[in-house]
Symmetry: C2
Amino acid sequence: MASIDQYLETHAEAFEEELCRFLRIPSVSADPSCAEHIRRAADWVADQFRGLSFATEIIPTSGHPLVYAQSPPVAGAPTALVYGHYDVQPPDPLDQWVSPPFEPQQRNGNLYARGATDDKGQLLTHIKGVQAWIETQGRLPVNVKFIIEGEEEVGSQGLERFITDHADRLACDCVVISDGAQFGPGQPAITYGLRGIAYFELRLTGPNRDLHSGSFGGSITNPANALARMLAGLVDDQGKVQVPGFYDDVVPLSDREISELAALPFDEQQYLRQVGVEGATGEQGYTTLQRRWARPTCDVSGLWSGYQGDGAKTVLPAVAGAKFSFRLVPNQDPDKIAAALRQMLGQLCPVGIRMELIDFHASPGVLVSLESPYIEAAARAIAHAFGRRPVFTREGGSIPIVTAFREALRVDTLLLGWGQDDDNTHSPNEKFCLADFHHGIRASARLWKELSQIPRNGS
Amino acid sequence: MASIDQYLETHAEAFEEELCRFLRIPSVSADPSCAEHIRRAADWVADQFRGLSFATEIIPTSGHPLVYAQSPPVAGAPTALVYGHYDVQPPDPLDQWVSPPFEPQQRNGNLYARGATDDKGQLLTHIKGVQAWIETQGRLPVNVKFIIEGEEEVGSQGLERFITDHADRLACDCVVISDGAQFGPGQPAITYGLRGIAYFELRLTGPNRDLHSGSFGGSITNPANALARMLAGLVDDQGKVQVPGFYDDVVPLSDREISELAALPFDEQQYLRQVGVEGATGEQGYTTLQRRWARPTCDVSGLWSGYQGDGAKTVLPAVAGAKFSFRLVPNQDPDKIAAALRQMLGQLCPVGIRMELIDFHASPGVLVSLESPYIEAAARAIAHAFGRRPVFTREGGSIPIVTAFREALRVDTLLLGWGQDDDNTHSPNEKFCLADFHHGIRASARLWKELSQIPRNGS
């Protein structure tokens, strides 16, 4: 790898200039007036691949186009699929930017611009990672496909359709995504688990109109009281979700996972201070990181009923409603949980109340085994590039595109975030640390070598 | 009483004409453009009393004037204070009136006009009741004071101030109010109990901003979940309020009250159909009427938290709030309950949540003993006038002015409603049954006699 690493050092400045050119294109997917910039950004990405003699295609969708590129085939070698996105969030509020969002500026080792870390900078690390191989070795040691979309910030509809319809073109051994953050400065991470979600809206209807709470109170079932009881019934005072069978399919954390999590330099007091609370509650018997990443939850996201204005109105409301979701851990089945929930709420719903349960989006959790050779390959590549082994983390949220890849392609995704938590993604003054940019390129270049050394089934 | 009843029959038509004149004055207290009509209405009422040689005064307030009148003193006789109001609700929506709101029209034995039953018609029954005595006997058998306000529909501020400041002028043995309804057509009622109220707003604050329910869910206390638990904790699954000591001061219904309530021709299925529910829940061990009128409650009147719009938003809300009240029965102490509630909620409030409890208006319940001689006097007067003994009912709501009289004057109030539930008070096509108008006058005239026969302390 000596010549590759040397190539990367020699071209470091050129890569930064290329990134700046990419960042100057205001490819805001949510803004219809940016349609031309979106096309320019797609062309810019396609040109990168054409320059490497990849089979490259700009694929129209119902929205913004996809860029698909494929390295010259390497027989018998594994195939990686790199995902990224060339679209960016709107830059508003503009007056809070220190330097204009589409005029990249370097300050204190960081490059400031909309899209710097999310995701143009991180995406470019993998393009430069393959470029280093092509330019120094003439070929890659593995097959690499790229699928780059322009609608990540607006829902990925075109890509999700493409994944479903063209799973064969995307067939691969693993997916690689760099669109997130490291554990902290100087501490790279691999995210090996994501929670799933099952989201619901519960609507309760009592009397046919708001009633006088004096004349009717005590004799007519109050939907707001009923809602409070039903929601309270979902979780017990130990923080355990009470939906029957909820925990049946939960795979407990392995001993290795428990130690990996415990070894993370996680400052709980700082975490609490950051969100402004003095303490927290949750499922008993688990640490805060376990609760955030590896245990299922039930959180109410919205409540409404009756009078919400100033002062007192003595009303027995006609309706009450709530939105709530369960975050699911890998192996829990959203459909099974939805069915058990519906039955449970039906039993909790008191006489005098009509209940409607709306089942919104659901997706299962995702977990890559820490024993996976792909995880170990990525860990070695990161250790080589960043000078430090990555920690293994999970995320409490879900990433719909990861679920889509898993369902269509049946492969694991390597989530290799090169950013930092304070990169201001979606906020003014988005930035990307240039050292992380270069470390990311180096890790990407090394990753192709590591992946090429994984023994393949039947090979 | 023969000559009095005869006088009433002879003057029936004249009384109706007088009522029509009163109703033609659009004394809408909420409408500033009606200020002159308000003055005219006050004058009209004052002239009625002047015509009877009552000591009469129009008393300015911060809002609309009071009319105060006092019959010529009858030494050694008890004193009744009649309360009523000459202001009316706005007539909107005008296009739903069959005949114009301030042009009284008689149809099917009813007189249609704004204020017909609320409260001009009912108020006038007592003026005509005293007039019959003055005109036929030259004097009343008791002392009667009248306090008539012009702000009942807009909060009674002026009167409440006057009651507090001039309790001595209003000193009496009982208060008489006709500003409500009978139990049903042909079934007069005396309302002998009102519930009180203690109204609160609970505000819970968790994190310093709405958080991502994936990244933070499970590790940060959710104020919406906490709110549901805290509210659910206020009432158990038997419908019992869980605030410590809540029932300590509740006076159980007497055997007589239980039978009186049970004997009422109350059609529960029709009551439920009317509000559009198939069944109802409430405190176990009590009938629906007992729950409405004679048992305390806890009803949530408002709920809010997080996202209330369409679709799904995966947020862990920063704040959640609720408005709720306890309806109190006589002898429960609102202050004691507020203190116990505050302590209880403080204990229920989980770590990670800051709680604010706002204590809104509170008033105790009111109860007149069924054994009171004033109740019995009123019952005899009603039986004489309506040809049927009244039933004894309570009301689930509170009437602030009754509480004000009780606190300032330390006397019982006789609530003698002459209206019907379908009189359309506050709605288009308000009406008053003319038979009820005349029965009310006759009952009023008879009441003075019945009151005069109550043995007085020390006399």
